[in-house]
């Protein structure tokens, strides 16, 4: 049925349209370490983010024992942080969700399987991120449940480059 109405096709997503912004960029070189805010990140096609724990070949992340091509860069919605505060009274900062890129105005959950531009880089969304108990241990905040189904997006880097705070995010369909 969904196929018949063309739901979620590249065509419909492009037609309905959205553009968003890169609001925060973060990385950490090793598991458990605090994420550091950056003005820009260097994305390497097929590899990951320079200096980040999940960069292929570096393997210093909490999940590095389970290599995954589609986790080269991870995104998170600023709107989720706002909703956590509004609906659950939880103050979570963009450095605490442990994804690399915090975007605004980008419907991450709609993008699985699609390509989009993050500044000058081209990404392909591979799957939704799932929350992890480990984040409660690191942040000391009970955020596992509230993050179910809005825990961000895992992506593969098709075309590398430099991503800066303030860059535009847009559909590549």
């Amino acid at each position: 049925m969904l196929d018949e109405i063309g739901a979620g096709s590249a065509d419909s997503t492009a037609r309905l349209g959205w553009t968003g912004l890169v609001r925060f960029l973060h990385l950490a070189p090793r598991a458990f370490l605090p994420m550091r805010a950056m003005e820009q990140l260097v994305l390497v096609a097929g590899q990951g983010i320079e200096g980040d724990r999940y960069m292929i070949g570096r393997e210093e992340g909490y999940y590095s024992h389970k290599p995954e091509e589609g986790r080269q860069v991870t995104l998170f919605e600023l709107e989720t942080l706002i909703a956590l505060k509004r609906d659950a009274g939880i103050e979570l900062g963009p450095e605490e969700h442990r994804r690399n890129v915090t975007v605004e105005g980008v419907p991450l959950n709609h993008l699985v399987g699609r390509r989009f531009w993050l500044g000058e880089t081209l990404l392909e969304a591979t799957r939704l991120s799932i929350p992890c108990r480990h984040i409660e241990e690191i942040t000391g905040k009970a955020i596992f449940d509230p993050l179910i189904n809005r825990s961000g997006l895992n992506c593969r880097i098709l075309q590398g480059g430099i991503v800066r705070v303030g860059d535009t995010v847009r559909n590549a369909a």
Binding site: R30, A31, F144
Partner: protein, 318 residues
């Protein structure tokens, strides 16, 4: 590539200095001097020593100083081996895995006065606390330090000494001080805390028995066992394919028990929602706490990251 999950923070030994009275101070830092996970005053960390021992030490530096974990270790010749390994075997540049910091006290807003009572090396949990109070300009605190003769960690105590916050009691000349008089009158706005040898903490417990529990803090050298759900019971996991038996302690997850037993299991969320750790079960009474399996699936499968057991034995298809 590492196959085992990374479960500790990687640090390198960036400094070792003698601090008197058989004590060495170790400074641990990130290999690239990245900030380390934050901690509260008086918090402690586990060190995973190169020889396989895991030992807990109080952090001595201030929480604001987030690029280092500083611990002070007294060499106990007849101890359980942790301090000897650190003193005799660990050198600058060695890699040591540490846990996330735990515990510690956030100075409460309604607490006006702090009294710390420390015996010898028991001063370590109060160093970060007292320096934190000094730094935030808290007016009213005192650290009673009971030593035989030599003051441990003199250099680290210096700023507190200069500020007139330390009272040293030397038992070699004055005998043991009366803890009751050090602690003083019960006060709801006073927080009293003690760390020292067993005899001292017991005496302290006695003299503060009438105090509100929230105003008394006792730090023991041997970390108390973790708080576990009083209803949790230990059980045994029996792995049908290999015949291995793995004990699960009360309150421990099956996942942790299997990992401890060297069994590789795949996991991801560790919270019962992703399905990565699904395993078949054959016999027993599993307690399902996941949010992914249907009632039908639960008759055959369970999620080892969250499931428990209602019977003494649970047989898994592993």
């Amino acid at each position: 590539m590492s196959v085992r999950p990374i479960t500790t923070i990687k640090t390198v030994v960036a400094g070792i200095e003698g601090a008197g009275a058989g004590i060495k101070v170790f400074t641990l830092a990130d290999p690239d001097r990245w900030a380390l996970p934050p901690f509260k005053p008086g918090a402690h960390i586990d060190l995973h020593l190169p020889n396989g021992l895991v030992r807990t030490y109080s952090l001595c530096n201030e929480p604001a100083d987030n690029s280092r974990y500083v611990i002070a270790v007294k060499r106990e010749a007849d101890g359980r081996g942790g301090s000897r390994a650190l003193h005799d075997e660990v050198g600058i540049g060695d890699v040591i895995g540490v846990s996330l910091p735990r515990g510690g006290l956030e100075p409460g807003a309604d607490i006006a006065r702090h009294v710390f009572v420390a015996g010898g090396i028991g001063v370590t949990p109060f160093l970060s606390m007292a320096r934190h109070l000094l730094q935030i300009g808290n007016a009213d605190f005192v650290l009673h330090l009971i030593v035989r003769e030599e003051v441990p960690l003199a250099a680290h105590l210096a700023p507190l000494m200069e500020a007139g916050r330390v009272v040293v009691h030397r038992t070699s000349c004055a005998g043991r001080p009366d803890l009751a008089s050090l602690v003083g009158e019960v006060g709801v706005q006073t927080m009293v805390a003690c760390c020292g040898p067993e005899g001292m903490t017991e005496e302290f417990e006695g003299v503060t028995a009438a105090w509100p529990a929230a105003n008394v803090h006792i730090e023991r050298f041997v970390a108390p066992p973790p708080v576990i759900d009083p209803d949790a019971k230990p059980f045994v996991l029996s792995l049908a394919r290999t015949g291995t038996e793995i004990p699960v302690r009360a309150g421990q997850t099956m996942l942790a028990a299997l990992q401890e037993g060297g069994i590789d299991v795949s996991t991801s969320c560790c919270g019962g929602i992703c399905g990565a750790c699904k395993v078949g079960w054959i016999e027993g009474k599993p307690v399902h706490r996941d949010r992914v399996l249907s009632p039908y699936e639960r008759e055959r499968f369970l999620m080892i990251c969250v499931a428990g057991s209602d019977a003494d034995r649970l047989v898994l298809d592993l």
